[in-house]
Symmetry: C2
Subunit: 182 residues, 2 copies
């Protein structure tokens, strides 16, 4: 019980949290297993034992659950607000999203993971409010929020960084509404 108890599950969780921070801040290639292990105060070999490989660690660290609500019956005027709220929550509560976004630019595995998020989470949720061309609409909504997140969290373009959640909602709302309903 003194200091670190020998609790494999807790160590695994710590490693995943550290991996998320590193992947989100530095991308896939610049993140080293040694650094992640060091953050937790553990040997790098343990990471390999627990997750098999660096790719295995990433896959486990960056699995993303958007938890999009059921949009059936949501009024058109409320749609964008609900979506933007949810995306902001995903972006800022956890490092998973940023880890996935940064890595997706250079890793085919991560890009595939991102496509899967689109296909299994975004598209089905939006299908409830669009009657035609659902895949295109979902892709355009995704591109919109990805572009915003890229500019705000990765490129750090000043006007996007300084924007409040409400301002972002006011700007993105009509665009999302257009992609979903026009």
């Amino acid at each position: 019980m003194p200091g670190r108890a020998r609790d494999a599950d807790a160590t695994r969780d710590d490693l995943l949290a550290a991996a998320r921070r590193r992947f989100a801040a530095e991308g896939y290639e610049r993140t080293t297993i040694r650094a992640v292990a060091g953050d937790v105060g553990v040997d790098a070999a343990l990471v390999i034992r627990y997750f098999g490989s660096k790719e295995g660690l990433f896959t486990r660290a960056a699995d993303l659950d958007l938890q999009l609500p059921d949009l059936t019956g949501v009024r058109a005027g409320e749609l964008a607000k609900v979506l933007v709220d949810r995306f902001f929550a995903v972006w800022e509560d956890d490092d998973r999203f940023l880890a996935l976004l940064r890595a997706a630019a250079t890793s085919e595995v991560a890009a595939e993971a991102m496509r899967t998020v689109f296909a299994t989470q975004v598209a089905p949720a939006l299908a409830a409010v669009t009657d035609d061309r659902a895949p295109e609409r979902a892709a355009l909504v995704g591109a919109t929020v990805l572009g915003f997140a890229l500019g705000r969290y990765v490129l750090r373009v000043p006007p996007l960084v300084d924007m409040t959640r409400d301002q972002a909602q006011a700007w993105l709302g009509p665009a999302l509404r257009h992609y979903l309903l026009d």
Copy 2:
């Protein structure tokens, strides 16, 4: 004159072209100087002699000139078409943009270069057609096209990949118009 003439300028150009292809396809970290040199059939040390370092090579390879036209007096209905046309040209005529986009996700140098493109090319061009909140509007237009490019060329989201230039224009047009004029 047989085979490769000993022409330093031509070799430099070949190296830059090869570097653009590699950076665009694999990102900054996965691109090795040895591979770029190998593509041209030259020793890796020569790359260092010509460009100083890997970062120097990247900077020279990924300098981007959008050549945005003067938008003064362009009718509101034509604005989006002009912009989308120009961006498609930049995306598909050269690998510079993709190299910069991919690298910007993991390299602070590349992110800074991207911010500079925003500040010195996009924002001034758009300032001609917006009267207030020009920086925000420019940033949102940038985020829109970046998000689209990310989905289409990097993540390869099927609906975006399959979209024709005209379809993209039809979808993006109203969104850009909103960001610029509303």
